[in-house]
C-alpha cells in the first residue's frame, strides 16, 4: 500500500460525459425495501454524489461513502494494475482496507457499475466481502453494461433524483471494462440468496441481489 493515504495524486475523475435520466426498477426495489425499515444503513460505493447524500440522509438513514475504483487505483501500484497479477495476500489486504466492516451491518449497498471496472479476482473478493457485510435481508444494487466487451468505457456517476429515477452521467476518464452477461453475473453472485435482473435502456443491466 502507498505510504500515506492523504497524499494520493488526484481525486476521482470529473463527471464530464453524457448524462441520461431514466426510470430504475432496481432503485425502486431498494427504496421499497428501505421504506419499511427505520435507521437503514446504506453504503454508496460509487463515490460522493450530493444528490445521493441528500436522498439517503433526507430519509433519515445513515450513509457510508467510498469509491471502489478510487480505492483500487490508490491501493495497487501502476505495475500491479498493468500486469493484472495480484497475489491473494494483496487482494485480502485490499479488501480489508476498502471494506473494513463487521458482518451483517449494511442494509443496502449501492455498488452501481463499479464491479465491472475491477479485475475479476478483485471483483470476486469484493463480492464475497459485501455478502458478509449485508444483513440477512439486505439488498445490493449493481449495474452492468452488456455492450462493453473489450472496450474502455467511462464509469457512470449515478445520481438518485427520486425514489425511481436515476441520472447516469459518464465520468471523464475511460477505463477497461470487464465483459458481463446474465450468466456471468449469476455466477458472480452465486453465494447470494436471490438475483433479480431488470433490463434497462442501452444494454444496461440493473441487478438487485438479496443476501
Amino acid at each position: 500500500m502507498n505510504p500515506s493515504p492523504l497524499h494520493a495524486p488526484a481525486g476521482p475523475a470529473a463527471a464530464a460525459g453524457t448524462s441520461d435520466a431514466r426510470k430504475s426498477h432496481g432503485l425502486q426495489a431498494l427504496v421499497a425495501s428501505m421504506a419499511s425499515k427505520k435507521h437503514v444503513y446504506v453504503m454508496d460505493l460509487g463515490g460522493p454524489v450530493q444528490e445521493n447524500i441528500d436522498f439517503v440522509t433526507g430519509a433519515g438513514h445513515r450513509l457510508y461513502i467510498d469509491d471502489l475504483l478510487y480505492a483500487y487505483d490508490y491501493f495497487f501500484s501502476a505495475k500491479e494494475q498493468a500486469e493484472c497479477a495480484f497475489r491473494s495476500a494483496r487482494i485480502e489486504e485490499f479488501v480489508e482496507s476498502a471494506l473494513a466492516f463487521d458482518e451483517k451491518v449494511a442494509d443496502c449497498i449501492l455498488v452501481w457499475d463499479r464491479l465491472q471496472y475491477l479485475p475479476p479476482a478483485i471483483c470476486e473478493a469484493l463480492v464475497e466481502r459485501l455478502r458478509r457485510i449485508l444483513t440477512p435481508d439486505g439488498l445490493l444494487l449493481a449495474l452492468f453494461r452488456t455492450d462493453s466487451a473489450g472496450a474502455d468505457r467511462p464509469p457512470y456517476s449515478c445520481r438518485i433524483l427520486d425514489g425511481q429515477t436515476l441520472l447516469l452521467r459518464e465520468q471523464a476518464r475511460p477505463r477497461p471494462a470487464e465483459t458481463f452477461n446474465p450468466r456471468t453475473i449469476q455466477r458472480l453472485f452465486q453465494k447470494y440468496g436471490e438475483v433479480r435482473f431488470f433490463v434497462s435502456r442501452e444494454s444496461l443491466q440493473e441487478v438487485v441481489i438479496r443476501r
Partner: protein, 194 residues
C-alpha cells in the same frame, strides 16, 4: 453651456486628440460577488481568521474562539465550536475536527463534526466520519466515511461575532452546549467500522 464653451475656448492646442472610442469617464467596479464560502483560503486576510501557514507544523490539540485557516499541517484534534475552520488546498489535518462550520480544500484524516455545515470541496480528500446538519461534498472530492445529519437547532451555538474586538462579548466556551460525541468514530488510521 457657457461653461463648456469657455472650456473649449481655453483648450490647449497641444492637447492630444481624444481616442475615437473614449473610455467612460467613471470607472465602474464590478458588483461585489465574494462571500466567505466562495473565497479561496489564500485570498482571505489574516484579519478575518487566524492562519496556520504552509510551512507550519503543529502537533497537539488546537482550540479557540476565532475562525482558523490551516494551510500547514496539524497533527491533533481541533476544537472551534463557535467558529469556522477552513483547511486550505495545501492544508493537512490528522485528527478530529469540531467546529461550527468546516470547509475542506486540502486533506483531513479524522472525523468531522460541525453544527451548521461541512463542505468538502473539489479535489479535497477526507477519510473519516462526518456529522453535521448540512453535508456538502463536491463531486471531484474524495470522501471515505459515514455521513450522519443532525438537526442544527438541536445543538445551537451562540452566533459568531465577526471581529476580534467583539471577543470580550462572546459566550465563554464553558457555557456553550456540549456536542455529542460520534458514536461510530473512526480510529486515526482511517479504518471505518460500524
Amino acid at each position: 453651456m457657457a461653461y463648456w464653451n469657455k472650456k473649449r475656448d481655453e483648450d490647449d492646442p497641444q492637447r492630444p486628440e481624444p481616442p475615437l472610442n473614449p473610455a467612460p469617464s467613471v470607472q465602474r467596479e464590478p458588483p461585489p460577488t465574494s462571500s466567505f464560502t466562495a473565497r479561496r483560503p489564500d485570498e482571505m486576510t489574516a484579519r478575518s481568521a487566524a492562519l496556520i501557514g504552509k510551512s507550519l507544523v503543529l502537533v497537539g490539540k488546537v482550540s479557540g474562539k476565532e475562525d482558523l485557516i490551516v494551510d500547514g499541517r496539524i497533527e491533533g484534534d481541533i476544537e472551534l465550536p463557535e467558529n469556522c475552520l477552513t483547511v486550505g488546498a495545501a492544508g493537512h489535518v490528522q485528527g478530529s475536527i469540531r467546529a461550527r462550520e468546516i470547509v475542506v480544500f486540502g486533506s483531513v484524516h479524522g472525523n468531522l463534526e460541525a453544527v451548521e455545515k461541512v463542505q468538502i470541496r473539489r479535489n479535497a480528500r477526507v477519510i473519516g466520519d462526518m456529522r453535521t446538519a448540512r453535508p456538502v461534498i463536491e463531486e471531484e472530492a474524495y470522501f471515505k466515511g459515514n455521513v450522519e445529519t443532525i438537526r442544527a437547532e438541536a445543538v445551537k451555538v451562540p452566533p459568531q461575532r465577526p471581529h476580534a474586538s467583539d471577543a470580550a462579548q462572546r459566550t465563554p466556551a464553558s457555557e456553550s452546549p456540549q456536542q455529542p460525541t460520534l458514536p461510530n468514530a473512526v480510529p486515526p488510521t482511517g479504518e471505518t467500522r460500524r
